[in-house]
């Protein structure tokens, strides 16, 4: 970019002074900074403050909040329910993220092997699936798994699995998370396919051809040539999936309403919502959310350090 600009435009007007140039630069990034400060900074700061306060419904309606130090954090961290929820969330999030990345990468590799019209067709379908609103997909999945008229239970029953006809998938935590996991994976796969496919098509064909001539099979080519070349993209999508799946909310929340086992199916998102918005205890919910943020940061710590190191190198 800069190289092109320099070539096209000979230095005609240099900034009058370096300081003026810098002032202009600050002025130019000011709007962006304001948006970030208002949109993300304020809620985050408010959340940090609230996590140290006793902030309930009374405070919401005008009473002054009281600072209570780390009491909210202690309450959350000493609550066995929280640890159960955290464990469940982590297990569920890793399972979903792994499934999404594996299926998505496999799908992308498959796309490189099929003819162009098919590849384009598949991508269009994926794009539609990806663009589908969460609530619509949820409704379709609920129909698929409906105990009374769902096609999945019926099909499994026809295949000879006992008790699957009329089985209520949402009434047991294991099958509940299978349904939720399938939905979340289904919704996450298209993006992974797009990103991985885009980066694979950028690879130098000759490298792969050379490997092929050397007698490397499909799996070896992927393992030793393709995967290392697209590693940054794989790392990125894996981390994004982990973060997205850790803070999953809508899918679980809606399915819970039809499950009758809310307590056994809470994940971090619904847990925080339950104590905060439905429970009216904003202080406690903020503390729980801060802990959730810390967990997310821990999970992607390696990625962030990699990012910082890259920044230093260049």
């Amino acid at each position: 970019m800069t190289a092109i600009l320099r070539r096209d435009r000979p230095r005609v007007t240099a900034p009058r002074s370096p300081r003026a140039g810098r002032r202009l630069a600050y002025l130019l990034i000011l709007p962006a900074l304001c948006v970030v400060a208002v949109g993300l900074g304020y809620p985050l700061a408010r959340q940090v403050v609230m996590s140290f306060q006793e902030f309930g419904l009374q405070q919401q309606f005008g009473q002054a909040p009281v600072f209570i130090g780390l009491a909210n954090y202690l309450t959350v961290l000493t609550d066995t329910t929280f640890w159960e929820v955290l464990g469940r969330s982590l297990a569920f999030c890793f399972a979903c993220a792994a499934a999404t990345v594996v299926v998505g990468t496999a799908g992308a590799m498959l796309l490189t092997q099929v003819s162009r019209p098919i590849a384009v067709g598949v991508q269009i379908i994926m794009l539609v699936a990806w663009a589908m609103p969460v609530l619509s997909s949820l409704q379709v999945f609920q129909w698929l798994f409906d105990p009374r008229s769902g096609v999945i239970g019926w099909t499994l029953g026809q295949l000879g699995l006992d008790g699957m006809v009329g089985y209520n998938w949402l009434s047991d935590p294991l099958t509940f998370f299978i349904v939720a996991g399938l939905l979340i994976t289904w919704m996450g796969v298209p993006l992974v396919v797009f990103l991985v496919y885009a980066s694979v098509t950028q690879l130098d064909e000759s490298m792969i051809e050379a490997a092929q001539l050397d007698g490397a099979g499909g799996w070896k080519r992927f393992r030793h040539i393709v995967a290392p070349s697209i590693a940054p993209v794989l790392l990125l999508v894996s981390l994004l999936q982990v973060i997205w799946d850790l803070r999953v909310f809508t899918q679980i929340y809606i399915l819970q309403q039809n499950s009758g086992i809310s307590e056994q199916t809470n994940v971090l998102g619904t847990f925080v919502y339950q104590i905060g918005l439905s429970g009216g205890n904003y202080g406690l919910a903020s503390a729980a959310a801060m802990i959730m943020l810390a967990v997310s940061l821990l999970l992607c710590w390696r990625y962030i350090t990699a990012l910082l190191r890259q920044g230093d190198d260049l």
Partner: protein, 429 residues
């Protein structure tokens, strides 16, 4: 080239990651809304609660009586309304002037100072004719903050032909009801594979409460400002064993946990999959007209615990109140008086099939059997605990989960003990 690509990806990813992280934890923005100097009353009504003719009547009558003022009705969705009210009622800028909310949500707002006391206009609104269970829910420390808006309560719809085929009479006690359901289910008059004597979904806790309330049981009781879960009381336990027996012998619907399906009991009824269901009077509109024309549909009230006793179902409905933060409280009171006048109250019956908050106007529902049974059910109804923290219990779905587990055949003593513990802790938080 490769290095730049790598950095771009990482940098872009970093930005997305950061946004994803932050967005995951930012509280949802409060709904905005402007207050202004003009006397424009904002009225929040819930989706599907007040019919269009009634809304139009209120708007035009109010604006006629108060030239220069306007009344704007904004329809709210039930889902997430408690959270939305928590944020919008809190400031004079964003608060609506008149608000409707679900009767079980009323105690939460009545006790935190979010609402204006209606004690001075209680007589004007209907006095002793107001539905008592809704007055209880809308009051805090003996002061009424939220007036009964309308209510509905359930009664049984049954198939006369199936009762006759199975040789079953209309039950007059809870035990007879269980026996009738079991006999019908065993007889299976329609020969349907999934036949249920009584269609009672496990998730339908508001229906199941009728067994508890009729036996004299309560969800929780208050003593000296402290709430205590009451599902382990002998009365509640008796009701729970009755329910469990029913789910084991007379109803195959205990495993239904889909809330939407549970709210459409007419579907299995029309499909000959059940001989009776416990529903609202307005469910009649969804019943197969052919069944009604052939005089195959009958109704009966929730039976008493003993012969000659009275059933006490739960009443669902709404309360209506004025925001304490409203800047136009005098005008709001005048609008509220209009809402409790005969023309508006009559609309509840004629357009919605609900029982008006002022029972004097329930006559508009008609004098047929269905109307009488519904009005009586509301009159005898009992509400959920009038506890400030009740919304927490609903938010955590404690009662939903509890009844689903009871329907699944769990041990009622252990389940009740665990649920009581949660109730006690949530209600006293």
């Amino acid at each position: 080239m490769a290095r730049i690509a790598r950095r771009t990806v990482l940098g872009w990813g970093g930005a997305v990651t950061l946004v994803a992280l932050l967005a995951g934890c930012s509280p949802s923005a409060s709904s905005g809304g402007g207050g202004s100097d003009t006397a424009d009353l904002r009225v929040w009504l819930m989706n599907n609660s007040v019919s269009e003719p009634a809304r139009d009547w209120l708007k035009s009558t109010f604006e006629e009586e108060h030239p220069g003022s306007t009344l704007t009705i904004e329809i709210q969705q039930w889902d997430g309304i408690v959270s939305k009210l928590q944020t919008s009622l809190a400031s004079a800028e964003s608060t609506p002037d008149i608000i409707e909310f679900g009767n079980t949500q009323a105690p939460t707002f009545a006790s935190v100072g979010a609402l204006l006391s209606l004690e001075d206009m209680k007589e004007q609104l209907g006095g002793d004719s107001l539905t008592q269970s809704l007055v209880d829910l809308g009051s805090s420390d003996g002061t009424m903050y939220a007036a009964p808006f309308y209510a509905g309560s359930r009664l049984f719809f049954y198939r006369k032909d199936m009762f006759q085929a199975a040789g079953v009479a209309v039950p007059t006690t809870i035990d007879e009801l269980t026996a009738a359901a079991a006999k019908l289910q065993a007889a299976n008059p329609s020969g349907n594979a999934n036949f249920s004597g009584l269609y009672l979904p496990g998730i339908s806790w508001q229906s199941a409460l009728a067994w508890q309330f009729t036996n004299g049981g309560r969800i929780a009781t208050e003593d000296g400002g402290t709430w205590k879960g009451s599902l382990s009381s002998p009365e509640s336990q008796k009701a729970l064993s009755q329910l469990q027996e029913l789910w084991q012998t007379g109803s195959t619907a205990g495993g239904v946990t889909d809330g939407v399906v549970a709210e459409q009991p007419w579907v299995p009824f029309n499909a000959d999959e059940t001989a009776m269901f416990f529903g609202f009077n307005w469910h009649l509109d969804n019943i197969d007209p052919a069944l009604i024309a052939a005089d195959k549909v009958g109704f009966f009230a929730f039976p008493g615990a003993e012969a000659g006793g009275t059933g006490h179902p739960f009443a669902g409905g709404s309360n209506i109140a004025i925001s304490a933060k409203s800047q136009k409280q005098d005008l709001a009171k005048e609008a509220l008086a209009l809402i409790f006048s005969k023309p508006f109250q009559d609309y509840f019956a004629t357009e919605g099939g609900w029982v008006a908050g002022n029972l004097d106007y329930a006559a508009a529902l008609g004098s047929d059997e269905l109307a009488t049974l519904t009005t009586d059910a509301v009159r005898n109804s009992v509400g959920t605990p009038a506890a400030q923290n009740w919304a927490l219990v609903e938010g955590a779905r404690v009662i939903d989960d509890f009844y689903v587990a009871v329907a699944a055949g769990g041990d009622v003593t252990a389940l009740a003990a665990a649920a009581d513990e949660r109730l006690t802790s949530l209600l006293n938080e």
